[in-house]
């Protein structure tokens, strides 16, 4: 059988960085291939090339034996390739059908007759087993619902190859099941699929074989039925990582007590619906949940960034018990906050590192006196912090935007953590970072716990939560479940809680 798609020697470089280096593989009609690798392995560059968004520097792509050059996503569509993106290309304030039309350029002309268009989309939807609410605004949909729009868009022209980029990354377990079922159904109809993922479970549940990428190259493949997981992991990661230092600390007194907390979003909907829990010294509570269920608002409320509507947060931090505080006073009292949105909150990208140092240290006596900034002292402190925390930067005068994401995060952690900190609110602290930095950050959190710090860890990575947390809390539709000790529950139960408020 001729492969439907064959890639030979695809190479793409950005300056010095070789995002894809001589990548070759093929896929037969009706086959589901998983392309797996850690962050930075080159998966998204490969996807962009296969989807026509960028052209390779060298190498070629063959569709059913014939060489093709795809200069745009339209070319890819013509070749029978459709792409479901990782970050949905949807406009929240427009409706489902408007987004569907937007996503299909060939439909965008003249007067829009939505009735006619709907029947076209209906056909696809029935195949998928989904029913879309065409005049609903995308902002009201769940993540799974949004993905369905992307799927309908992708399947509209009956592609022969469907590429899905990290499709299960933000899905709760039940929706993930549904998606994988769907992919298997499409396979039965002869459609091939490429599943890009960094999660092994996706591969084993759905794919026929896996192609492993690391640092831009294909380093191996695996016939998933026979190989063992350990070997696959070694292929992906490349080396043995030191086992995480997991020393469960001893739990102390409650430092943060939350009672019947109600927090609203900017648009008025309730994000946190009467949540209550205690965060003790010397423990890590892992906060899980599908994105958008209130975790962000909860973290922001705890950090003093968002006003609370009802209920109370009590910080018992030794000297005083403060009931309602603002972010600056909380920081001064020892509540550190690593925001999940680094670029919009944690740092000012256009400022130097020294100026960023000041951002959360304006009440520190050595750095500010009588309302005046002591820039020399701050530069010195920044210089030391950069060294201690292994931040790759040219010095305190470097601009924050020149640093890589990992180094920015190390800077933020260096700024936030330290003497006098007794509570850490960490929002997705390792998201999107390279393996080494991730390990460093995790070890740091564990070390802080050993010192008696209370840590609330918001994470979408269930395995990370499992490794690090003592207790687990789940948020679903604003309602808090738990915290329960990790030993008394299971991943399946957590997944269940994540989807049932």
């Amino acid at each position: 059988m001729i492969p439907f798609l064959e890639a030979r020697g695809l190479t793409k470089a950005y300056g010095q960085l070789r995002a894809n280096d001589d990548v070759s593989f093929s896929i037969l009609p009706g086959e589901i291939v998983g392309i797996v690798g850690e962050n930075g392995a080159g998966k998204s560059t490969l996807v962009k090339m296969l989807g026509g968004a960028i052209e390779p520097d060298s190498g070629s792509i063959y569709i059913s034996g014939e060489r093709v050059t795809m200069r745009s996503p339209a070319d890819a569509t013509k070749a029978g390739i459709s792409l479901v993106h990782q970050h949905f290309k949807l406009i929240d304030s427009l409706t489902v059908e408007e987004n569907l039309v937007l996503g299909r350029p060939e439909l965008r002309h003249g007067v829009l007759n939505f009735k006619a268009l709907r029947s076209g989309f209906e056909g696809v939807g029935k195949d998928l087993g989904t029913s879309l609410q065409y005049d609903a605004r995308v902002s009201t949909l769940s993540v799974g619902g949004r993905q369905q729009i992307e799927l309908v868009r992708a399947l509209f022209h009956e592609p022969r190859l469907l590429i899905l980029d990290e499709p299960t990354a933000v899905l709760p377990p039940t929706e993930r099941e549904r998606l994988l079922c769907l992919i298997r159904r499409l396979k039965e109809r002869g459609m091939a699929a490429i599943l890009i993922s960094h999660k092994l479970d996706d591969l084993y549940d759905c794919c026929d074989r896996a192609v492993v990428m690391r640092a831009g190259r294909v380093v191996g493949s695996s016939d998933l039925r026979s190989d063992d997981r350990g070997q696959l992991v070694r292929l992906i990661v490349g080396e043995e990582l030191p086992p995480p230092e997991v020393r469960r600390g001893t739990r102390g007194a409650p430092l943060v007590s939350v009672r019947e907390l109600v927090v609203r979003r900017d648009n008025g909907t309730v994000a946190v619906d009467r949540g209550s829990f205690d965060l003790h010294a010397g423990e890590i509570i892992g906060l899980c949940g599908v994105e958008g269920n209130g975790q962000t608002e909860l973290m922001h409320a705890l950090a003093g960034m968002r006003a609370i509507e009802a209920g109370e947060i009590v910080y018992a931090l030794g000297k005083q018990t403060a009931v309602k505080c603002d972010a600056a006073s909380l920081r001064q009292a020892g509540v550190a906050h690593i925001p999940e949105d680094r670029l919009h909150h944690a740092v000012v990208p256009s400022f130097t590192l020294t100026m960023n140092w000041f951002l959360r240290k304006l009440s520190e006596r050595g750095l500010v006196s009588f309302g005046f900034l002591q820039r020399l002292s701050a530069a010195k402190a920044t210089h030391e912090a950069i060294a201690i925390n292994d931040v790759r930067a040219s010095g305190p005068r470097a601009r924050m935007s020149d640093l890589s994401g990992g180094n920015q995060q190390k800077f933020v952690i260096g700024r936030e953590l330290g003497e006098g900190v007794s509570v850490i609110l960490a929002g997705h602290p390792t998201r999107g970072l390279d393996i080494r930095t991730v390990a460093v950050i995790r070890n740091r959190l564990v070390a802080e716990r050993a010192r008696g710090v209370a840590i609330l860890l918001l994470s979408a990575d269930l395995s990370e939560v499992w490794d690090l947390a003592d207790r687990v809390m789940v948020m679903a539709r604003g309602k808090l479940r738990g915290p329960v000790p990790v030993g008394e529950t299971s991943l399946a139960e957590i997944g269940h809680w994540m989807t049932t408020p």
């Binding site: 745009s72 339209a74 949807l90 406009i91 408007e98 039309v101 937007l102 965008r108 007067v111």
Partner: protein, 296 residues
Amino acid sequence: MDLVLITGILAAGIRLGMPIALAAIGESVSERSGIFNIGIEGIMLSAAFVGAWGSAGTGSPWLGIVFAMVIGLLLAGFHALMVLVLGVNQFISGIGMVIFGLGFSSFAARLTIAAKPTSIPGLPAIDLGALSNIPFIGPILFGQSPLAFIALVLALAAGWVINRTAFGLEIRACGEGDEVARALAVPVNGRRTACILFGGLTAGLGGAYLSVVQVHAFVENMVAGRGFLAVACVMLGRRRPFIAFLSSLGFGIAEATQIRLQTIYPDLPYQFLVILPYLAAIVALVIGHRNVERSA
């Protein structure tokens, strides 16, 4: 408060609000695509001059209006170049445009039509015969200049295009999520340029209306903030062309009321009445704050 007074105020109000309304139609389309043009004050001034100069020079008010539209397109095109190509902040470009309009219109006027007595032919009002004589509605709706009807048609057409056509959908995508729009192969800069140009076109019409149709003259700085009132109306109308159109007429009615009040209460210092439309704009922005859409 007798009927004649109210009829008079409403009829005059629509006339007075028409320049604002015209500018607001185009600006709402422009803002829908995501780009503000606070420089329409300057465009209107330039158009007011060019319209007056053109109709005085050629003897035809329609030609003067065409000249005004051309200058509106040119200036708006410059704004589009600044913002979309050179990456200049849209508010700064707008302010530059305002200042240019002030300078250009006064400079050119002093050298041409203001230097000697000039008569500016105005547009005749449409005579709709029996319709204009219906009490109350007649003078208000049917005694207006042809440009007013053009404005109404433009407002409705703009709204229809935005909501019912693919072009309009793409415009809305540019305004609501330009990153996504770009990723979906929507020519964002092209659509925005078209919208900005449309904004310049209607601002030109608005300026021309002021000098050619309403006042039959060009007076320095005659736009007197109407361009900014148009921007306020677009905010109040949540960038919907027809609603912005209606709010603009509301301001016209405020202005007409203020003028009438001056004759009714001659002892009241006129300055307190002149400020009414401007205060109304502030109050409207404050009251409507839940509905107002704002950017930067």
